[in-house]
Structures are given as C-alpha cells and as structure tokens.
Symmetry: D2
Subunit: 404 residues, 4 copies
Amino acid sequence: MAQKTTEGTSLHQGILERLDAGEIVIGDGGFVFALEKRGYVKAGPWTPEATVEHPEAVRQLHREFLRAGSNVLQTFTFYASEDKLENRGNYVAEKISCHKVNEAACDIAREVANEGDALVAGGVSQTPSYLSCKDKTEVKAAFQKQLEVFMKKNVDFLIAEYFEHVEEAVWAVEVLKESGKPVAATMCIGPEGDMHGVSPGQCAVQLVKAGASIVGVNCHFDPETSIETVRLMKEGLQAAKLKAHLMCQPLAFHTPDCGKQGFIDLPEFPFGLEPRIATRWDIQKYARKAYDLGIRFIGGCCGFEPYHIRAIAEELAPERGFLPEASEKHGSWGDNLSMHTKPWVRARARKEYWENLKPASGRPYCPCMSKPDGWGVTRGAKELMQQKEATTEQQLKELFQKKK
Amino acid sequence: MAQKTTEGTSLHQGILERLDAGEIVIGDGGFVFALEKRGYVKAGPWTPEATVEHPEAVRQLHREFLRAGSNVLQTFTFYASEDKLENRGNYVAEKISCHKVNEAACDIAREVANEGDALVAGGVSQTPSYLSCKDKTEVKAAFQKQLEVFMKKNVDFLIAEYFEHVEEAVWAVEVLKESGKPVAATMCIGPEGDMHGVSPGQCAVQLVKAGASIVGVNCHFDPETSIETVRLMKEGLQAAKLKAHLMCQPLAFHTPDCGKQGFIDLPEFPFGLEPRIATRWDIQKYARKAYDLGIRFIGGCCGFEPYHIRAIAEELAPERGFLPEASEKHGSWGDNLSMHTKPWVRARARKEYWENLKPASGRPYCPCMSKPDGWGVTRGAKELMQQKEATTEQQLKELFQKKK
Amino acid sequence: MAQKTTEGTSLHQGILERLDAGEIVIGDGGFVFALEKRGYVKAGPWTPEATVEHPEAVRQLHREFLRAGSNVLQTFTFYASEDKLENRGNYVAEKISCHKVNEAACDIAREVANEGDALVAGGVSQTPSYLSCKDKTEVKAAFQKQLEVFMKKNVDFLIAEYFEHVEEAVWAVEVLKESGKPVAATMCIGPEGDMHGVSPGQCAVQLVKAGASIVGVNCHFDPETSIETVRLMKEGLQAAKLKAHLMCQPLAFHTPDCGKQGFIDLPEFPFGLEPRIATRWDIQKYARKAYDLGIRFIGGCCGFEPYHIRAIAEELAPERGFLPEASEKHGSWGDNLSMHTKPWVRARARKEYWENLKPASGRPYCPCMSKPDGWGVTRGAKELMQQKEATTEQQLKELFQKKK
Amino acid sequence: MAQKTTEGTSLHQGILERLDAGEIVIGDGGFVFALEKRGYVKAGPWTPEATVEHPEAVRQLHREFLRAGSNVLQTFTFYASEDKLENRGNYVAEKISCHKVNEAACDIAREVANEGDALVAGGVSQTPSYLSCKDKTEVKAAFQKQLEVFMKKNVDFLIAEYFEHVEEAVWAVEVLKESGKPVAATMCIGPEGDMHGVSPGQCAVQLVKAGASIVGVNCHFDPETSIETVRLMKEGLQAAKLKAHLMCQPLAFHTPDCGKQGFIDLPEFPFGLEPRIATRWDIQKYARKAYDLGIRFIGGCCGFEPYHIRAIAEELAPERGFLPEASEKHGSWGDNLSMHTKPWVRARARKEYWENLKPASGRPYCPCMSKPDGWGVTRGAKELMQQKEATTEQQLKELFQKKK
C-alpha cells in the first residue's frame, strides 16, 4: 500500500460529513497522563494550565498525535471549568484565569490542525460543582463559560466527555447543542452503567435525545471493556430506534479487575499503572474490534501515547487506504526489525510473532490483579464534597486512617 | 525545602569539577525509545536522523529532561557512526550524511543546555564494523569521524557508551581521549561481563587505563542489576588501585530474567516491553541505591522518560538541596493527590502508600518472566555479519525458520 | 472448646433428621482425584474398580475423611453405571462386573461408617448413554441397576451427582425416589446453568419437583463460584415457593477463568492442576461463606483431600461444638507451629498470618489464568458420541489436528 | 514395553550391589507432609508417632510408594530422636517412648517391603540437641539410640538425612558406620552450602571421608536447585579424587525464590505451599536431569506423593526396562485420556501437550515469588535454643512482634 499523509476526500469536511460518509475518524490520546510524565501537568488536580505556561509542550504533543494519524485534535481543556481550576487549593483560575487557559488551548490546537487534515474539537468535562450537589443552573453556567471561548475561537465541533453521571452529561450536551455545532458525548462508564445505576443503553438514549450526534465512552476502562460498554449503548439505541454515530476513547491500561468506577479505584492509580500499559499490538486488536462493532470514531484517553494512535491507524490502513505520517518510522507488525543487528531480533519481523506474544511483567513479586478500593461513597457524601481551599492536614489524617 | 531551579555552585563548571567536588550529576533518559513512541525513530536501525528531519521533537525531549533535572544533555548521536547509518538498507548517510546528523545533534543539545545549567556530552557507541570483524583502524576511523564534529561544536565532554565488547570500548576511549576533553565510558553489560567473557571489574580497569575518567554501565539491564554490575566494577578498580568516578544509566524496564546479553534477548524486545516499565517509585529506590554505592553520575537509558529522571532528582533532593523545575508539577511521594476529587485517592497522598505498593500487571494470561532467546552466536558468526543492503526475503525466511 | 469425636445428638439419625434439626452435615472429598494420585484410579475413564481391586486403598481414604470430620461417606460408585464401565475400551464391566464394583463400594463405605458417626450415601452420576442420545428408558435402566445394589446393601440415603444436564438429573432423581429413601441431587454447573442453558434456579426447581430433598452443586467449579451457583438455586426455589436443603461440594481447585463447562475445559485438566489447589485457609473461607448462605450439607469434590475436609470442620467447630478427630494433629489456624524449631516459623502460629497470606506460585514462567478450550460441541455432536471400543489412532489424529 | 512389576536381577540384592551394577534405585516420597494432609502428623513438631498410633495409615502410604516404583522404603523415623520427640511440649517420648516409635516404623516398613522388591533403610535426621549447642557425645548418643533399634530390626542399610550442618551429619555418619551396614548421607542444603558456610563440594568430601557410600541432598529445595547442589558435590568429590554414589531427594515444591535455608523461610511454609506443588511432568523432567548428571538414587522428600514417584519410574522406564505396578492406572504422558468422554480432553492424550504446558495458578491476586523470611539467626542464637516445655505465650508474643 502506498504511503500517503493526507487523504484528499476528507480535507475541509466536518465531523458529521466524514462519519456520514462512512469514514473512519481517528481521535487523539490522553493529554493529562502524557504531559504529567513529560513534566507539565500535576496529577491530582489534572488541570490544563500548561496551555498558558508551556504551550510548546502542548503543541508538540498535538503534533505527535497528528503525525500518528489523529483526525481530531481536542483542545486541551480537560477539567478547565472555572470551579475545577479553583478546587482544593489549585488556584489556577486566580493565577491565570479560566478564560486564558481555554483560549490558549484553542489557539494551539488550531495551529497544529492546520498543519494537516484535522478537525479541532472543543471539550468540556464533568465538574466539581455537580459532585458537590450544586444546582443545574450553576453547573450549566460552567459549561457555558467554556463554550463562549470555543465559539469565539470557532472550533469545528464539540465534545462533552468524561461524565460519571448521565444527568450532568445531558446538561452539558444541552448547553453545547445551543451553539449549533455538532456535539459528541462520551461517558467514563463501564458495562454496569453510570454512578446512579443508569445502564449504558439508557445513557446513550438520553444523550442522543439531548442532542448528541455521536455517543460512546472514554477513559476509566480498558479497550476490551469499553467496547463492551459501547455495544450495550448500541443495543440501547437500536431498541429505542434512535440513530447516532458511535465513539470509543478508552484507557491504554489493562483493567480486567476494575469495578464500577474504573481505574480510579485501582490501588495503582495514578502512579503505579505502568505494568498495565497496553502494547501497540493490544491497540491494533482494539481498533479492529471497535471497527467490527461499527464504531467509526476511534481514539484513546489516558495512557494513549502517539504510538498507540499510530497503531489504530496502521490496523485500519487497509480500510482507509493510507498510512499515517509517523509510519515512515514504523514498519507494520514490526517489519523494520529486519534492519536489526542481532539475527534473533530480525527473526521477530513478522505479524505472527507479535500477535501471539504474551509479554511478561518482569515483576515476580507482584500479582496480576488488584482489588479496587471501594468506599461506596456517592454524590452527596461528605467526603465527596469539593472545596476551594486545599485539603487540610486534619482531613488527610482522617482519610489515611480510613484507608487502613 | 525551598524549590530552586538552578544551583549557583555548579553553573559553568565542567563534569570533572562537579564530580570531584562530590556533586551528584544527573544524566538524561533514553532518546531512541522515547522518540520511537513519539513517532520519530525507527525501531530496528535505531538511528538518530530525527536531528535533521524533526529537530523540534528532539529539542522538546531535551527540554523535558532538562526540566526534570538532567545536568548532562547527551547529543542525540547514538548509532550515528557512518557504518551504522548505512546498515541493512537504512541509507541515512546517503540521504542525509553522517556529518549533518551529528552536527544537528550538537546544535540542538547546546541550544537547550543553554536554557539551564547543563553540560553537553558528545556520544559514540558500538559499531557494526566491529561486529563484522573489521580491523582496529577502520573501527577507530568511525569514532574519529564523529569526534571531529564534537570538537568543531565544542561539546563539554565525551561519552563512549553502549559497548558489548570492552576491546571496542577501549578503542573508542583511545580515540576520544586524544581530544583532551574528559571521557566517560559505559558498557551495556551485566554482572557476567562482556560478550567475550571479560568481567565487569576487568572492563573497568581497562577503560580507566585507556583514559576514561568516569566508568560504569548503561542500557541492557534493569537498575538493580546495573548497580550490581557497577559494584563489581568498583571492586575491580579498588583491587587494581585505580581511581575513577562511577556512572550508571540503566534501563527503565525490569529485567530479572535476562541472561548475559540483556533485554535484547527477551522475547518482548522491543515492542512488548510495556509491562516491565519501572514506576517512579522504582526509580527513586534505584537513585538511593546508586547513591549509597558511591555512584555520582546517575541517569537512565532506554525506557527512561522525563518523569523517571525527575524521580532521581526528587529522591536525591535532600542531598542536593533543591528540586528540579518539573517538580512544580509533582508533589514528592504523591502529595499533590491531596487535590484529587475522590477521597480514596486523596488517601494515597503519602510515601508509605507508594513505597509499599506492589503494582498488578492487569495481564492475567501473561507470565512474570520470559526465557531469553539464546542463539549462542557471537562476533564472527555468519548471522552477526552486518551488510549495507537490506535483509533479503530469503535471509528472513531462514531466520523465521530458525526461530521456530 | 473440648475436643469430641462423636456428637451424641446425631448418632443413628438420618440425613433429613439432621438437616431438619439445623445440624451442619459435612460431606467427604473427591475419590477419583485422590486415588488417581495414590495409584488406584485411571484418569480418563475415572471408573471405581479399585473397590474390587484394592479395597484397602479405598477403605483408608474413607477412614481419613471420617477422621477429618465427614458425616457422610459416599459409596465409591462414581461413574459406576454399566455403560460407563464399558466406555472407550475400558472393559471393567466385562472383567469385573458392574454389580461387584457397586457392591464392594457399599461394603467398604459401611464398614468405615460404622467406625464413627457417619451415614452411607449411595451415588449415581451422569451416563455416556445420555450423552450419546440414548432414550429415557435406557438411561433410567442404568440408574436402576445401581439402585438395586444400594437397596440390597441398605445405604442410608441416595445422591444423584455430577450432572451437566438437568434433564438427565431429573431422570436419575425419579429412579432413586422410587426407593423411598431420601434423595440429594447436585449438578456440576456454574452460574451460567446447565449445558442446555437451563438456569441454576430452574435446575433446582425441577430437581425438587422430581423428588429431591436436598439440592445443590458439585465438582466443575471452585468454592467461590459454586457458592454463587447455589445462591442462584436458592433464589430460584424461593421464587417458586419450594423448600429444600442446600448442598455444596465444589472443587478444591481455583477456577476463576472457567467458562460454562468448568475445569474440564481448562488446559491444565487433569494433569496440571497442582498450582490451583486450594489451601486449608481457602477452604475455611469457603465453609464460612457456605454456612452464611444457609447451606448445611457442606463437602467437597475433586481436589479435596482429607485436610480440606478437616478445614471445614475446624471452621465450623464453634457452631458445631466439637472438633474432628484429625484435629488432634492440627492446631487451629496453625497454632501447633509454636512447636517448630525455627523462631520465624513459630511466629506464624496465628490466624492473622494465614488469613492474609497471598501464596506465591513459585512458577514465574506461568500465567495466572488460562483460556479454556471451547469446542462448542454439545450433546448430539459426532465427537461427543461415546463408544465401547477404544478410541482409534485415526480418531486421535483427527482430534490432535483439531486441537492445533 | 511390557509392563513388569518386579525385575529379576535386583531381587534380594543390597543397595550397594544395585548401585555398583549401574541400576537406578528409586527412593520414596515425603511422609511427614503426606501424612499431615491425611490427618496423622502434626505440622510444627513433625514427629512420627503415627507408627504407633495409626500403623494402618503409615502402612498404606508405604504400599502406595512401593506400588509407584520405590525400591527403598525408609522407616518412618524422621525426627524420631528422643530429644526431638520431647521438644517444645510435644511429649511423645513420654507418652509412647522413642524406642516404640522407632520399632514400629521398622516393622511396618519391612512388612510392606516384603510385598515387593524393596529395601528397608533406617533413617536418622538432625537433632534439637545440636541446634542447642549440646556436645558431640550427647548428639551421637541420640543417633546411637535409634541405631540400636535399626540393628535389632535388621534394616538393609542406613540413611542420615536432613542435616543443615555438615558437622552434625558427619557425627551421624560416624555413628551409623559402626554398624557395618552401608550408609547414605544427604544434607538439606542448596548451592550456597551448609548453615556454617561449608560448600556442597566440601560437605560431600567430609561425608565420604566419614564413611558414607552414597551422598547427596534431600528436602529444602526444588528439584532443579537440588540437582545443581548435587552437581557441586560431584565436582567436589572429583577434585578430591573420592568416589561415592550420588543421591537426590528434593522437594516437590517449586522454590525459585529461596535463600540459603530453603523452603522453611518462605512465607508459605508449611500451610500455603499448594501453588508450588510440582506436576508429574515437572518430576519427569527432574528424573531425566538427575539421571543425566549421573545420579542413580533418585527419590523425593516433602511434597512427593505416590504419583510423583511413579513419574520418576515412568520417565526412566526405557533405561530400566519396566514400569511400576501403579502404571496399570496411568498411561505414560497422559495416553489414557484417549478414554475420556470429552473430545478436547482426548486431544490431550500426547506427550507434546503435557511437556509444553505452562500451568496457570488460578490465583490472580497472588504473586509468583515471595521474599523469604531472613532473621539471620544461626546455631547458638537465643531464639534457636530448643526446650522441652511448650513455647510460652510470652515467647510467642515476642516472636509475633519481631515478625512485624
């Protein structure tokens, strides 16, 4: 197959035109985890002030995803609602301003998108206000504030992502929908449904009814589990005779042991997840399965690095007819290993080898699965109330005690 | 401890002045693996033509390491000898030129080093010529060619790294030593010694006698094994009444199952190593152990991402008196998790938690250890002869057959 | 607690009197696996001709279970229907006779039962005839033939166990019920139900309606899974407003990875199951969970050795008021370790230690879970047809080929 | 190969005649572990009073080993020295008498040996007296007392086994040697040597010089490690130009993670070792490796059940020309599985399948390896002093504290 870096047909076309035409749209990977490892994002608050503080780092990561095959560049506005930027002693809104963080994110994404054939999607995500039981008006106002920036910067479409409660996701879709731009909505749930017990099928139905044209899941679970959740969403939509495009942006971490709330509850979250990182071959299997289920917006979330996105693009190259730019530096199924100096490594230059490999952990004192933490607290519980000021020593001491 | 980003005393001082004064010098991480995942380096040949093709990507990675605490920026000239740039169908020398690749690497490293308090080290590594039994003159000429660039660009010191045979490493040191600049030399060996059976102690002795002021190991083995190898080197030097500074730049992959030749032989090399990636806590333990053994040049090799280097700098912050710039975005031992929305994650904001975590692999169908490939071929064997032209289909077929 | 070897109240009482009075009845363990390891049973056919060939070995195993706390000794008549004794080249019926195998089993069980306070249960299990689609009359005749021996030898009650299809189990219960003796019935199924897709709840309902006074599961799944299946049976009975005692006799192998057909499909069956063997502490947890669910007939199946049965008796000693005879040689929760010569082993003489131990496998090259074989063939398929003559070389060759 | 249950040539021949003639002699398995699971031995003291209390259980186990292929039946006199029978509150000597325990053991072994072609070996093992620093005379007197019984009962030869210190083993050999009967001596050590740091080679030399005709190892380590230790013994003997037959009776537990003192230090000892139990295929590999090294007395220790001994006999059947009696019930390499009802299990009736199986642990929350306890106390330390009276609550409390 000839290697091409752009595809004539889709240039300048919108997200719905592409999906309606049956095109595969490749999303990008997870910014907060990737930039945390690169030194620009703080684990805990996970807020995106790097757009102002270190635009070159954000720009470079966008470029890598574009080069790896992403057709959509999401503005790095995850957790960039004003209340989140001010939560638990973070004070980003005060020091920089919510407006500037969101604006810078749009500018950087657009700059890089223009270097290739990619769309810019403005994104909102769940808010501490909702978790702290603030009312609908207040929560919607937070989304509205971000939307104003997205409209000013004229993003191509909008994504409401990372919602644990469909109620809040619906509010977000309602706000975004007013813009007239296409809206995608993904929840960070597994097959058990949202935190209030709403099933994936019901979540999908509510989101489409609220105005989302594309629905699915992102984050919290591994590719296999996420595809299963989207399958349940698809069934729910079919049962309700509703139509929508399907989308999947899972973790690049294996999470066979997760409960309802996903990887947050794993003891390894967020600083011990390394052994769970998916290989490129795991991701190729994911891309194929997602495609086979009818998902056409296929991307990733936390843990997805550029090479994972490239793996999606390589797996689906036969269907798409072209390879991403970064495949200049990557032979499909390892075939560049034919250039290795060692003969036994050259012997690994074939699909059969990598497809069947069961990689060892190199950690003989560690188990394969963990029991997730399960405190059983839900929205409304005292411990889940958010606060502007930093967590106090006394609060931490109580938590450490409870943890034991 | 107050967070500082520069340390007055060492600014503008050379590598030997720093080490002689007892300072801890932090190296950088592995460029070929990190840039392969970002889409700029081809696994197999592993050559650094990205310095010319994508300088922005190389520059950004240097910056991240500097920000994470690196005091030495190595020019991205790994495998940049002319014979390697032309090996097995790679043709980089022909398309770009060996000279340009090395020059660009020096320019980028210097540009970033000037943004902080870091030294630039020009690096050479083992050659296909040696493996193919070319004579001493020819091998030395390859190093000489790279050295000319390093001298022209006036790097601060030189590193001969990634040598499997001490004989070739000595030749490299002899060439580099003629420059008058300080020379460090590291071999990619484990406790069993080099590929010809020379013990680590003997390797160290030969390297120091050839002119190296700093000796140690890099690549091929995990931190624990590498420290053990440096310990053997230290003993060898003591027995021979020789003095040198010690250096360690191991993998950030766990390799308890490796044989003599290290991770190259593992079935997971190079595309299935994810489950073996070290956590930041593993690296903090490594930094402490390395320090306790008397190693003062402490860095990393393949698998080391910026956050791993930051972990070295954080672990040794009490000794050094300052934190790296990237620690703005990282609370020591997870203490920024006190800003997390979920209470059970806030309960992980403490050293005791992360220090004792045994992270699960999330891969219940995979084992913990692998049997390394062991073809038993050594320098001189037909299969180890390198060639300029690409590996043929017939050659590959023979290898696949042998692999079975 | 005073150690007693008999309990006055239950002596000479029947199984239903005991269960109706709320007593805990402890079953025995798995004869075919235990005697295979001792050298008296052939894996593959799994038939009990040892009752005639080596009565001393069968007697000794009964004695060990009695000593460990069993209140029920099952006649060793598993797979002792005439058609099974003649299946695939086994020829036991021809060489010994079905009648003699069953008679000897009854005699040995009675002899040992009289040495303590135990009941003798005559047992039947599923037949090759059913699998080969023989009709109801023929299948029932096989059970009838065994029942005649049980009546002649006057066993205390009857067990129909190890049925994969509830249809056949119902036929067995109907035959046994005619005897007027109490009938227990257990299926070797998991939460997914029988091989025809009948749910556990429905299975329980059909068995009780057919005349079983005690229902539950045996074999094929680990304790945890089996308890879950009995829980579903209990719910089914409650929904149908039916009453029956509950019974559980699971494997002593961990089978978290099993599919619908249980451990038969695991690649390790039957000669590589060692790493899955439950510890005595696993069994104590099982006994407690079974008790808490309301199960009062608690025993084991394949993999259960006498010390596993003792673990049930020790866990439930507080409720029962006495320990089994074999506890003379076993301190609860390891407290006899206080007599060990090594101090660090004496330090293990406490419940907290053993309760929390996560035992290592000692097998670093092996995974934790396996993918079960899943040929998807069911009753009626050519490969499932049984035959009197031995499997031919040609038949085996076809199977090996299919296995690849 | 025709199946034979006796072999004409060796009937009535002594142990040295057999070994001198190049015969393979198969030992038996571990009595204390097997009988602990059957309910007759107390873990902790591990003493053999079952010979008097439950002779039928001891006899049955001897029979199973004989049937499995054992050519040597060891009297069940492990830890039957008077001081051990009285250690830490055990009081067996007081209640039964050391003399009677040893006598009964000899009688039972002889009775069963006469049922086949087996020799009876009287055995002594290390004493608490030595550990408590009693003098040579006192320690030797303990062995002498047992020897008197062995002579009276006219055993065929003698084994001094399970010694952690070669000094004590030499004393034992000196005592036994006076009888004029052949003496075998095995130590429970690994490649690191005895508890005082004497190398395996040196241990072997000292034992042969003291009069042992057969030397090797038993217990404490897995087959692979034990063979390595015997290899070092063989080299030691060759270097010293001494001749002796080699013997190996390892654990049937995998212990890749053990330190100097073997499995006693593993956190799983003695009640959580199940996942480490060797399969029959592991034992066949052991038998082959032992044979290839020149070991001709091949048996087992703790964890070896009759089917493990049968595996030795089956693996070496080509060399010996016959199969053991128990192979009536066991097809080599699983070939009786051709009689199984399920086709995919029939497909496992072949060597290639079982030889390559990597059995899963079924324990996804458990690791593969453990860190051994290492208290670093050696002979002479207060905690290692033995005492006649039971360990007090206060002593235990101190140990529990230390264990934390």
